[in-house]
Every structure is written in structure tokens, then in C-alpha cells.
Symmetry: C2
Subunit: 153 residues, 2 copies
């Protein structure tokens, strides 16, 4: 699977959403990511739709080098109007993307699924620049996302 | 356990080392972190010695709020002369700290233990600003750290 930024020529006025979820950190939540991407697609264009693909395993994308993935993802992040990060499964990449999104002053929401016996990192939950919301069900998450995204100018 | 930045009044000329390892992402590697901190202590003062503490569980530090931990760790990061991040166990916090260290132009080395059946995130391995080195043994890591730290002006 080769995914390049060129597929993301999006009409003006459509919100561009960068969704961040774990890939090499572990794919336990891939089905959840797919459902979240479907919810986000009601609000705009999800640049990182491949994060919800069942075909994408923890070994990552095989058609691109790490350098190409990094350059593509940073280009998408720069293009994005908003960043949504699912932070239940630990991931260096998602933590890195959150800090970059903060540096770029992107509207950013971290979402965390309750009931997994962990707590989100203090680097996210204690960061005054980062909004974190817990959720227990997809229905609840749907409302959280709608409220957050509709408030973006 | 309460750990505050005030314990880190370090004599001028001693290298200040920020060691980053997983806490809430999982403590599988805590014994390894302790050995790495011992190696780093031969080169300077490790600001984040608590990362190698067996008493620190995935629930994190209980005497500080998330906001206090975030503020303390960012203050330590700003003080540090160099950042060493162990990136075998996935962690949002470590990924976040790596991006912040990059933004602060700190000398930064990511170290990754081979043989765990994962690969480091493309956000680290594919990032031209981040140096990543694999290792298989503590002896090998000792040489990698010495080579890296001795080259810092």
C-alpha cells in the first residue's frame, strides 16, 4: 500500500482532519480507529485514512521508507485544519505528532478510552496546551467529536 | 515519591542528561532503564533518575498532579545538555519529549533494543533530526552511549 500526499488535493472549504493512532506501537485498536475515521468523515476529509486499515500491521507500510513516511506525515500535519489523536494504545509516533501539532498551533483533541487499566501520559493529560477527553462508547465519542469540530472556526 | 526540579542544582561543568523511558506506556523495561541510568551516571547527572525506579508503576507518580509532572519534566528538558530516549516500549510521553527536545535543539539519541518483534516508529526512525541506534546488549549500549556523549562539546 503506497499512500502519498498527492491524493489529498481537497476542495477549498472542506475541513482537513489529521487522525493519529498507533501503528508500530500496536494495532489492538485498529477496528476502533476505523469507526472513528468514519465519524470524522462526516465533518471533513481524513488525511490519514490508512491508520484505520486492517491491512496495515505493526510492521508499518512496506512500500515507503521511514524517511518517506515521516516526510509525508509531517506534510499532512502541516496541511491539517485540526488534529484528533486517539491515545489509548501507547505510541511514540502519536506522542511525537501531538507535540508537532502543538508547535504548529493546530486545534488538537486527544481522546482516551476508559476501562483499559492505564492512564494517559502526564505529557498529554498535564499539558495546558492539550485538551484530553475520556470516552466509554462510540456514541459518547460521536458527541465529543461533533462538539469539538463544530467549534473550530 | 515527590520529585521536584529543585533537587537538580548541579555544579557548573557537569553534563545534565535527560533520560526518557516509558512510565504509563508500560514498565516492562524498568530494570533495563535502571542499568542505562547507571551507565549515564558515569558521564553526568541524570535529571530523571526516577524513570529507573522499581517503585514507579504504570499509574505514575502519586504525589504530583499531571500538570506538576508536565511542568517539572519540561523544566528538566530545558535544562538538559543532552537527551537519551529508550524507545523499545511504546510511550506517548517519550514521543512527545523527543519532539520537544528536537524543537529545543538538544543533542538527542534514541536507543532501541533489537529482538522484541517490533520496529521503532517512522516518526523517530525516519526523522532526519533524530539519531536512532539499535543495540542487543548492555555492553554494546555502553559503547554507543560513550561514543555519543563524548562527542558533545
Amino acid at each position: 500500500m503506497r499512500i502519498s500526499p498527492t491524493r489529498c488535493i481537497i476542495p477549498v472549504g472542506i475541513m482537513k482532519i489529521y487522525f493519529a493512532g498507533s501503528i508500530r506501537g500496536g494495532r489492538d485498536d485498529v477496528a476502533l480507529y476505523r469507526r472513528i475515521i468514519a465519524l470524522l468523515s462526516d465533518h471533513g476529509e481524513v488525511l490519514t485514512e490508512h491508520v484505520g486499515s486492517e491491512g496495515l500491521t505493526p510492521t508499518g507500510e512496506d512500500a515507503l521508507s521511514d524517511e518517506e513516511i515521516y516526510a509525508r506525515d509531517m506534510a499532512w500535519l502541516a496541511q491539517a485544519d485540526v488534529v484528533i489523536a486517539e491515545v489509548t494504545t501507547p505510541s511514540h509516533g502519536v506522542g511525537y505528532e501531538i507535540a508537532q501539532a502543538e508547535a504548529m498551533n493546530k486545534p488538537l483533541l486527544c481522546i482516551y478510552r476508559l476501562g483499559v487499566g492505564r492512564r494517559p501520559s502526564a505529557m498529554l493529560a498535564g499539558n495546558p496546551a492539550t485538551r484530553c477527553e475520556d470516552y466509554e462508547s462510540i456514541e459518547q465519542l460521536k458527541s465529543i467529536l461533533a462538539r469539538f469540530l463544530r467549534a473550530i472556526p
